[in-house]
Symmetry: C2
C-alpha cells in the first residue's frame, strides 16, 4: 500500500511513528512542510523536516518533541557572547551540524529535496521524506504587538517562528501568509507520489501553518483532489481546543472556528473524503457528514505509539470504507 502523508512537525512526526507501527509494510511518502523554515546565523533551518527526520530516525528529544536528544548549547552560548541572536530559538550543538551540512549543500547548488535525501541517508527514517517544494517559502504572520508603554502597537508582518516561538502566539494574528508559495513548484516526486498513492492522510497537524501551507503550493491541492483515492484526515482539535500547540490562534486568523467540524469544513469535501474526530466530539459527526465528508468519532490522543497506531488503523479503515 502506498500512503502519502502531509506532515508538519511534532504532531506529524508522532503520527508517522504510529503509521509505521500500524502499517509496517506500507510504502510511505511524507510531504513535509517547509513554510516554517528560517535562516538563522546564516544557516538554513528546516524545523518540520528535521522533527520528522529525527523522530523517525531515533534522534529526537522525546520530552520536548523537537531537537536532538542529549543536546548541548555551547555554540548558541558563544553566539550570544558575540551579541548575535536570536536567543529565543533553541539551536543545539548537534542540531547545528544538520544545518551546517544543509547550508553547505544548498550553497553548492543542491536543491532542498536532494539535501533532505542526503540527510536522511544517515537517519534512515523508514519513509521517503520530501520537502513540499525546493523553492523558498516562509510563512509570515501579521500581528499587532503591544507597544512598550502598553498601548496598541504597530501592525507588522513577522516570521512564523517569531510569532510561534518568541511570542508564543500571545498576540492576535490578523493574517497568515505563506510568502513565496504562489510562485513555488512542488518538489520533484511530490506530484508523482500523490498520483501513485492508494490513500492520502492528513495527520492531526496544524491545518493552517502546517497542512495549509503544503496545500498552498500550486498543484498539490489539485493533485490530491484529482488522485481519485481516499483522502482522510484526523482532527487536531479535541473538545474545541488544539490537542497541542496553538492551532486555535492561527485558525482565528483565517476565520475558522476551533472545532473539529469547522476544520473539516475548512478543508472541504472537494478535498477530504473522511474525517476522524475525537470520541468527545461525537456530536460533530453529523455536522461533518452533512458537509459531505464521511466521519467517525474515535479516541484521538497520541499518548503513545500504540494509541497512535490505533488512530491510524481507524483512518485506514475509514479510507477503505470510502473506497468501497
Amino acid at each position: 500500500m502506498r500512503i502519502v502523508v502531509l506532515a508538519g512537525g511534532i504532531g506529524g512526526a508522532r503520527f508517522l511513528r504510529g503509521l509505521k507501527s500500524a502499517a509496517p509494510d506500507a510504502d510511505i511518502t511524507v510531504i513535509g512542510n517547509t513554510g516554517d523554515d528560517i535562516h538563522l546565523f546564516g544557516l538554513k533551518v528546516c524545523p518540520d523536516l528535521d522533527t520528522v527526520m529525527y523522530t523517525l530516525g531515533g534522534g529526537i528529544n522525546e520530552e520536548q518533541g523537537w531537537g536532538r536528544t542529549d543536546e548541548t548549547f555551547r555554540v548558541k552560548e558563544e553566539l550570544a557572547a558575540y551579541g548575535v541572536g536570536p536567543e529565543w530559538f533553541g539551536l543545539g550543538d548537534r542540531d547545528f551540524a544538520t544545518h551546517i551540512v544543509r547550508t553547505q549543500m544548498l550553497s553548492a547548488g543542491y536543491p532542498l529535496s536532494a539535501v533532505t535525501e542526503a540527510l536522511c541517508a544517515r537517519w534512515k527514517p523508514g519513509v521517503r521524506l520530501l520537502p513540499m517544494s525546493d523553492d523558498r517559502i516562509e510563512t509570515h504572520v501579521a500581528v499587532t504587538e503591544p507597544g512598550s508603554d502598553g498601548e496598541e502597537g504597530e501592525r507588522k508582518a513577522i516570521h512564523f517562528q517569531e510569532y510561534w516561538v518568541r511570542l508564543r502566539a500571545s498576540v492576535p494574528a490578523h493574517a497568515v501568509v505563506p510568502v513565496g508559495a504562489d510562485q513555488a513548484k512542488p518538489a520533484p516526486g511530490v506530484l508523482e507520489a500523490i498520483a501513485a498513492a492508494d490513500v492520502v492522510l492528513f495527520p492531526p497537524s496544524n491545518p493552517v501553518v502546517s497542512i495549509g501551507t503544503i496545500l498552498a503550493v500550486p498543484g498539490i491541492r489539485e493533485a490530491i483532489a484529482d488522485a481519485g483515492v481516499p483522502v482522510v484526515g484526523l482532527s487536531p482539535i479535541v473538545g474545541d481546543a488544539p490537542v497541542r500547540g496553538m492551532a486555535d490562534k492561527v485558525l482565528a486568523a483565517v476565520g475558522v472556528e476551533s472545532t473539529a467540524a469547522a476544520v473539516a469544513r475548512h478543508y472541504g469535501s472537494g478535498l477530504l473524503d473522511g474525517w476522524l474526530v475525537d470520541s468527545t466530539d461525537e456530536g460533530a459527526v453529523a455536522e461533518v457528514e452533512a458537509a459531505g465528508i464521511r466521519c467517525r468519532a474515535v479516541p484521538l490522543m497520541m499518548t503513545d505509539t500504540d494509541a497512535t497506531a490505533a488512530m491510524v488503523r481507524e483512518a485506514l479503515a475509514l479510507a477503505e470504507e470510502v473506497r468501497a
Copy 2:
C-alpha cells in the same frame, strides 16, 4: 610609541603577549596573516587571526596554543556522523560560533577587516588587529604524496592547512604559493599603520607561510621598506631548527637554509634593519652583519611571558640603536 607587528599564529600571538607586557602603553597594530584561511563546512575559518584574538583576549587553549579553552567537539562529531569532513581539522563548538558569526557577516557584505573588528569588540585583545587583506588569499603547497602502494605519487597542489595539519609537513614541499596574493590589496588601515609606525617588528613567526605571505600582498613590503623607521625581526630558527612548528620544511621549498642567518638574508637588508638570533647562534651574528643587518645574540625562547617580554625589550633596544 606606535608599533606595527606582522603576525602569524601561535608564535606571533605569544610574542604579542610579551610585547603588551614589555610596552604596556604602546599603540600596537597587528597585521595578521590570512593566507592560512580556509573554508570548512561552508564557513570561513581564519586560524591565525583567531589565534591572535583568542590569545590576547584570554580565550585561548594555553596548552595547544590554538583553539578555545574548555572546548568540546559535539558539532564536529555530528558532522562526521553525516560523513562530512575533513576530520583532520579540529574545530570545536565554541570556535564554530566565531566562524558562524564571521561567515554570516561576510555573506552580508562586510569586508574581513570589519568582521575582525566586530569579533575583537568582544575579545578586546588590546591591539588593533587587521587582516593583511580583505581579498581572498590561500596559501597552497605543491607536494608529491606517496602513492598508496608506497611508490612515488602524483605531484599536486594542496591547501596549506592540508599540508600542515593533515600531513604534518611529512612530505617534501616543492613550492609554496600564496594564491590570490598578486591580485590582492592591503586591508584598509594596513599601509596607513605602517606609514605612521615608529618601529616595525617581525616576531619569530614562520618566514615563509606567515610573514612571507603578508609581505606577498603588493604594497606591504614596499611600505615597510619605505617607512624610514627601524624594522627588527627575531629568528624563528634556533640552532638550525625551528623553535616550534615545521618552518624548515617550507624554508626548503623556497631554497632557504634553516639557519638564523639564512632567514635574515632571505628577508634582506632592503627590508630588515635589525635581527635577533638566539644566544646559541652567536656565530651567526657576523654573517648577518656582513649582509648589512645589525644583529645581536640574546635568549630567544618564549618559555613564558616574562622571557618573551625580555626578547621584546631586546628588539626595541636594537630598534633604538638602528635609529640612532
